[in-house]
Point group: D2
Chain length 340, copies 4
Amino acid sequence: MRAAVLTGIEQVEVQDFPEAEAAPGWVVVTVEAASLCGTDSHQYDGRIDTPFPRVPGHDFAGRVERVGEGVDESLVGAAVAVKPSLPCGECDQCGKGKPADCTRKKLIGLWSDGCMRERIAVPAVNLIPRPEGVEAWQASLLEPLAVGLNTVDRLRILLGETVVVLGQGPIGLALTRLCALSGAGRLIVTDAREAPFEIARTYGASDCVNVAEVDDAKQAILDLTGGAGADIVIETSGFPSSSEMMLDLVRKEGKVAHIGWANDLPPLPVVPLMAKTLTVFGIGGNGGRGQYERALELVRSGRFDLEPLVTHRYALEDVADAFATAHAKTDGAIKVIVEP
Amino acid sequence: MRAAVLTGIEQVEVQDFPEAEAAPGWVVVTVEAASLCGTDSHQYDGRIDTPFPRVPGHDFAGRVERVGEGVDESLVGAAVAVKPSLPCGECDQCGKGKPADCTRKKLIGLWSDGCMRERIAVPAVNLIPRPEGVEAWQASLLEPLAVGLNTVDRLRILLGETVVVLGQGPIGLALTRLCALSGAGRLIVTDAREAPFEIARTYGASDCVNVAEVDDAKQAILDLTGGAGADIVIETSGFPSSSEMMLDLVRKEGKVAHIGWANDLPPLPVVPLMAKTLTVFGIGGNGGRGQYERALELVRSGRFDLEPLVTHRYALEDVADAFATAHAKTDGAIKVIVEP
Amino acid sequence: MRAAVLTGIEQVEVQDFPEAEAAPGWVVVTVEAASLCGTDSHQYDGRIDTPFPRVPGHDFAGRVERVGEGVDESLVGAAVAVKPSLPCGECDQCGKGKPADCTRKKLIGLWSDGCMRERIAVPAVNLIPRPEGVEAWQASLLEPLAVGLNTVDRLRILLGETVVVLGQGPIGLALTRLCALSGAGRLIVTDAREAPFEIARTYGASDCVNVAEVDDAKQAILDLTGGAGADIVIETSGFPSSSEMMLDLVRKEGKVAHIGWANDLPPLPVVPLMAKTLTVFGIGGNGGRGQYERALELVRSGRFDLEPLVTHRYALEDVADAFATAHAKTDGAIKVIVEP
Amino acid sequence: MRAAVLTGIEQVEVQDFPEAEAAPGWVVVTVEAASLCGTDSHQYDGRIDTPFPRVPGHDFAGRVERVGEGVDESLVGAAVAVKPSLPCGECDQCGKGKPADCTRKKLIGLWSDGCMRERIAVPAVNLIPRPEGVEAWQASLLEPLAVGLNTVDRLRILLGETVVVLGQGPIGLALTRLCALSGAGRLIVTDAREAPFEIARTYGASDCVNVAEVDDAKQAILDLTGGAGADIVIETSGFPSSSEMMLDLVRKEGKVAHIGWANDLPPLPVVPLMAKTLTVFGIGGNGGRGQYERALELVRSGRFDLEPLVTHRYALEDVADAFATAHAKTDGAIKVIVEP
């Protein structure tokens, strides 16, 4: 079969690749759509250092092609979304026959070959049935929604609270929509580009602040909260200047969530945490407790419309363009989809 | 001044009434709008037994006309909403000078003369500033929203959960809107009339079940939840047949809230509570912890549109018609407003 | 091997029984100690109607004797506690290879032969490693602790809150100890016998009320709370007279948990739930989310001393006496242990 | 009357001082005992910069001597504890006649003259009735308990969780006791002195680590948690080396509370917060929502024995020695009491 292969930094090409096989408990899935995320970009430009050659990609959906021993035959042909992390196979939970509870799961596409190819084998426990009416490209975009759900589940927004979402990339936009659906009152978002604001408004943002345009972004946001600070601040951008103003933007006894990941983030001063009696939530992933399934239902019911997020679509043969676009964020790129 | 006076069961007339005076710490408010609720109807038909003659009414808004000693003069002329319960003046909290924390507050209009008149005196601590753009008739409708907020605050809906709201009177409709805003997924509502369903759909209901029309209401609702029962069931109707099916409609480990008040409610069997590991919340009022202020903000921001709830408006002179309409629920009556 | 067999109502005898076999994924455990609980008594006297002949018993501990295919060989010889419910083998979760997540688990000893014998086969996922220093008789008593943990986990006692535990059988005593450990302030317990009060005091009860001795049990308890009612009331007795006073014993905005199971429990009136803004938790089991493991650690660390609970011990050959004692609750019986 | 007066950095002397007067709504309290805390020491050595001369001190208890206008006369002679912060008199809450809800309260002894004198005037709303059996010196020590309660209230310890308390000064020891009472399982404490460990063990610590004695404090603590990290870590010492290891000591998905206040605290790295999905609670005070009253009840009931904390007692005339001892922490000083 054909596969996209990273052969070096910023080098991706389509090659012939060995066919996927279904081990006992595993299935082979035909990849119908795969989406690119920040992790793929970081792997592409070398900030995440994985061995080459490597088939990248972890967010995808498709149909079950074949099943391995011990897996229900009736799954063949089923439309599925796929959870992107593999059980380690070595920990206590894996040893007890509970791979779904593995605490050391590893993302495919980084430490094993990923989904940017025609077919891939995954454990049957990673499958989520894709209901009628949810297309493969939609189901390939569940990850940012699952991360967002893990965030709002922990924040427990009280109806009407003022929320600030810093950064309007895919995760930031997902949070904007999920906070709007969860009862946020005033919903202030920021970015350094104008492009995402139209989507943000569609998703429920009440106020959009372009941090590259205003003189004093922090003051502009504070003014929108009436000076007292927001009930909740969520940092998704990973930009030091954004992370830095987080604690100043939240009110006394407020809550902060940090999702934006970067190696050069400034550390948090401790005294304001105490002086303002804050609660800080570190968000490291999608939680793995039903968030994928709930994200799928939000898409199915139409409450989360993914259409505005998808700015570019490529065939597998054009995967090099897909990576270049996603990495450069040129041309208003938010989410880039590859359809093998 | 003129006042509506209950002179006996189902007898209300407009009479001359002594002027309101502002004691120290109190203010006189000009009543611009008052709304009728179930309590008023129960007092009107004698199910709540209060002394006659009595000026009824507790949900109202207006402007400060005069202030008593010790109250900031600058309040004169201010547009206000008014919390409807008076501190008892005798408990520990009142004795400590903290009337706002009184735990034995009493509703005006029942045990003291209420708001169905041109002017009324209330403690300054009962005032809530009414912001620009919120009209008096809107501010006279905060009570069902505050009760609803007290309910969703305790239920803590997780984004996407299935919610059933039994009964679509004013409180039921408020809950429908508040649950939709708070992240309910599938949102099923019931009533024995068709009239409220149009409003319910506008407010975010996904499914409306007319319990007077279907053969087996319980089964019809369960079917809409896929057979497993809802995550959350909220009973607002006060009808025995509705309260009775509540525990059957909720899923294992689900939550139930009961707001619908009536003297003939069937008691709850205990074994299903245990067998299904349920949590039951009894809701007895508006909580009194900022819910009024937050309700006002939901109205101000346009997230809760009160217009559909108001089906009838009367001048003070026509208050007898107002009570008759609200009590009989004729002519599609949901909320009846009196504007003195 | 030898096994206790229920051959009819109140008829139990020791018989020869076919040897246990370890199917794939299962293990054979040598039973070192088994404890009797209320469910066993109800099965014995026919209130729970199971087919005869039947080997009763579900609460036990021992050592792994043999392992079936696919189970780690190194488990042989391991000291274990055993979770007493079997996965159904037919539901979605079981079908996905996640038997630990089965939602229709069935207690052994009722619908399949139980643990009152020398050896029994159970799924490997039901095993909990028994640490150094925890004896088999202790590990056979985890069930009431796990149920109790499931209760205090949901109640979330605030340090210093006043708690009432109604009934001081094994579950009631477990709750007394767990509430004391969890921060209860005043801790009031009730029973109709004097016998358990000495244990209750050792476990941390501050006040013991013999409901058979006082004129007005409800008033006596209320007086101990200063008249205002307790923050939390936990009903474990299953007696109608106890369940009936529950809502009167709790303060406004307080919490109630109901664990005591009986078919003749009076239903709960709804109006007090609303008037007092109560929260009611139905407790139907041990929760199955780590409570067994945590119960084991409480025993291991010595924070929960099980010794006072065990009033009688029997060899397997004397199992008829064991059942008679446990059922009649004669001779101050709290917990009866059988050691095959 | 006589008063202790700070006349400059590390200079305190006893002087004659004008008599206290009770304004309307205020009372004059005879100071029977006052305790010294870290804030007093910081003011004494100039790290907190307040104007001189100043009467220091804010933690005290005594009896009501006189009452001002509008205060219940029957309070005269009452034994009381006193909340140490004064309402600002200028904010919205104060303006509404709700001084107890003031959000800008100021500690006495810093920005106004404090309690290290024979008599002091305070608002009646600051009084807490001191029950029979609670002596003045005990009631002068409520502040660290109230701060500790505010901490455990937010952390919500699950019964049996492993807790680490870094630092065993007064606040750290209070947390040790409160965590033990709240259900902590393994309870590991640290300090750089041996002296507090005996108290810590009495209070319920299971393991004491002298960070000045072990080679690698972090590893020693981790080893006590079985390598996985604690469920909860509470930093109370204010030492950079202690604060620095906090995030390494907590398990994945664990909770951290930071109370130890210092200007040279190292900032928190953000990536570990995300990678480990942590929740961080900044604790800035006693919460002001009933914690004082609950602290008093813990003392009254004997569940929190304050005796071990009090290492030194002085008469008012020897206040200079009291400050010197408390500041230098010589002679095993934990809590120093002054009894005017």
